[in-house]
Subunit: 122 residues, 2 copies
DNA sequence: CAGCATCCTGCGTGATACTG
DNA sequence: CAGTATCACGCAGGATGCTG
């Protein structure tokens, strides 16, 4: 675990790995507004994805666990009985928000826009 | 195929899709310095990825084609005989570079850094 | 040199059912 | 409510060999 990452993996590749998965980026984005419960995240991911099917718990759970291990989010488990778990961004995660913002911003102007026709090459 | 993207796909999700694949982001980054030939890109991708195996033509070809269809890069085929093909960023691709830069920048400070220990949650 | 054709494999993703 | 367990599948990604 404490393996020292001998050859520096290229940051871009590391990023790719870190946010691999369909929901990780969107989860981070969702969490930027504050802590959210498991179910809230789940519902939140359904909004805006063009009527995609439900996100299976297995997948969401995996994503959340991965994000936790990446150190981007933090899991807070309140006592028990009716289970209540909140996820929130860590400091690292918060520092990552602007990057996602940049992505989202660019995406809005270039992806959600007009039909993806081959535009001028230059 | 010409489906009109009825419900706006969330920009982040669209981004995810667009750069899905291990090399797309790195290819864009490589191309930011100017046009590159197929083989140059191939070699370029080998540098910095911690002694990964060779990139198979099939994969690289796929990535390049996808990037072309996304409108991020442009393929220029010089005549023939000894095949020579150059890839370069389109206007759209160029506008995307700063985003990759932000990613790379963040990655350098948070991923290539010290051992990924669970840092303070807040 | 810049690819394409074919085969193969792991894993990311989804469906379904069950539990503390 | 917040997950885990099991099964199943498609596809990204690698290996090899061939071509214009």
């Amino acid at each position: 675990m404490a393996k020292a990452f001998a050859a520096r993996t290229c940051p871009v590749a590391a990023f790719q790995k870190m946010i691999s998965g369909k929901y990780k980026l969107r989860i981070v984005w969702d969490l930027k507004d504050g802590p959210r419960r498991y179910g809230e995240i789940r519902s939140g991911l359904l909004r805006g994805t063009a009527g995609s099917a439900e996100i299976t718990p297995r997948v969401l759970s995996r994503e959340l666990k991965a994000l936790t291990q990446s150190g981007l989010i933090d899991r807070k488990d309140f006592g028990e009985v009716p289970p209540k778990v909140e996820y929130r961004l860590t400091r690292k995660g918060r520092s990552f928000v602007p990057v996602v913002a940049a992505i989202r911003d660019w995406g809005e102007r270039n992806l959600s826009g007009p039909v993806p026709l081959a535009d001028a090459a230059e």
